[in-house]
Symmetry: C2
Subunit: 211 residues, 2 copies
Amino acid sequence: MADVVMEEGPEAAEARDVTDFILQDILAGVLLPGTWLKQIDLERRYKCTRPEVRRALDRLAQKRLVEHVPNRGYHVYEPDGRRAQEVSEIRIILETAIAATIVSNAAADEIAKLRKLADHFDLMVLNGTMLELYEANLAFHRQLLTLGGNLELVDLITEIRQRTSSAPVSQWRTRARVEQSGREHHQMIDAIAAGDVESLKALVRQHILQR
Amino acid sequence: MADVVMEEGPEAAEARDVTDFILQDILAGVLLPGTWLKQIDLERRYKCTRPEVRRALDRLAQKRLVEHVPNRGYHVYEPDGRRAQEVSEIRIILETAIAATIVSNAAADEIAKLRKLADHFDLMVLNGTMLELYEANLAFHRQLLTLGGNLELVDLITEIRQRTSSAPVSQWRTRARVEQSGREHHQMIDAIAAGDVESLKALVRQHILQR
DNA sequence: GTAACCTAAATTGGCGCCAATTTTGGATAC
DNA sequence: GTATCCAAAATTGGCGCCAATTTAGGTTAC
């Protein structure tokens, strides 16, 4: 239970920060790649002050989700195929490297917890907004990665997922792909329950590459 | 040559930013772990304005090099053994994963370039400041990692090296260890030249773990 | 119709200022 | 000597304002 509380607590608190509001709109495809983010528009949109907007934009620029052009403002980065491919490659390296640890750490209650999050994702496929879907997906993956035992790695992967604006609108191009992602979640859990490290690795790779 | 220019150009530009000044002082051990960073002191120290200081501190806080305590200010994070160990583990996973690619990509001129950087590090061991040593080390490793062909990974590793304030003062506790690092650089280059992937991996691991 | 120019409007960038909060140091009580 | 209290000093946090820069739209020339 403590893990569940911790996952939901910080997120609730952070949801109030302008940085997250903007990020959510980028990820949801509301603020499209190439869009110029005018500070005064953002003030009005998110009902906050200029300094707050500026801090949020600077943070997003540091994460390379938006680009700062001096005296002109900030715009959402265009998708960069090279970067996306490289980030996927990094994720595959990291997530397959900890597959064996995940499998050996997965007690029955952890597997049940994962199954519950995978079910929640399936539910969001049916009934949720794009953002809810994204967050359900993230919750599942964070929980999965936490079994690897390296908290820095969990945070790192969560962070780099955002680097290429793996927005739902670009991540899941078809309803069929979304549903396959849901099935893959369950297949990963099956592999873990069966202690099958190689299957888990293969599934992780397939999942990240979206094939 | 183009690579060398690119490496030195951005660095020269960034060296003027307060974020980097503060970061350098943290890495050099001037601003020790636990030190409270008073904004008005930093203004005076780096001869800049309050907004610049604030932006720099926020950025460093985002990178978790400093911690923000509301209404009290910012302080340099204390070393965290768990985080350092986890970051090392991540680095080992990533850097050994691309060892084969490094070896296959290493043409003679690349090897010569690495050798030159390793020699430069040795020179800094003898004659350089702690900061120059740190930067020579970083230059060597960036060049090495670039051979892996994944630019995001190069930037990522550069970034996470800083997370645990791998300051020279804590990274190299003895002169002997510094000199060994220099020898290991050359041994890595030898392994690459010999096409010996497994030796390179072992050396990378040993190097990161500082044993 | 297109290009160049100019001006007003819009926006960004950054500084100064002050309210809010914390820290410091002295006075007082025990 | 130690603990508590209080006021002054120091610092942080954030807002308002305005200079600097860019954009947008109208006018003129070809």
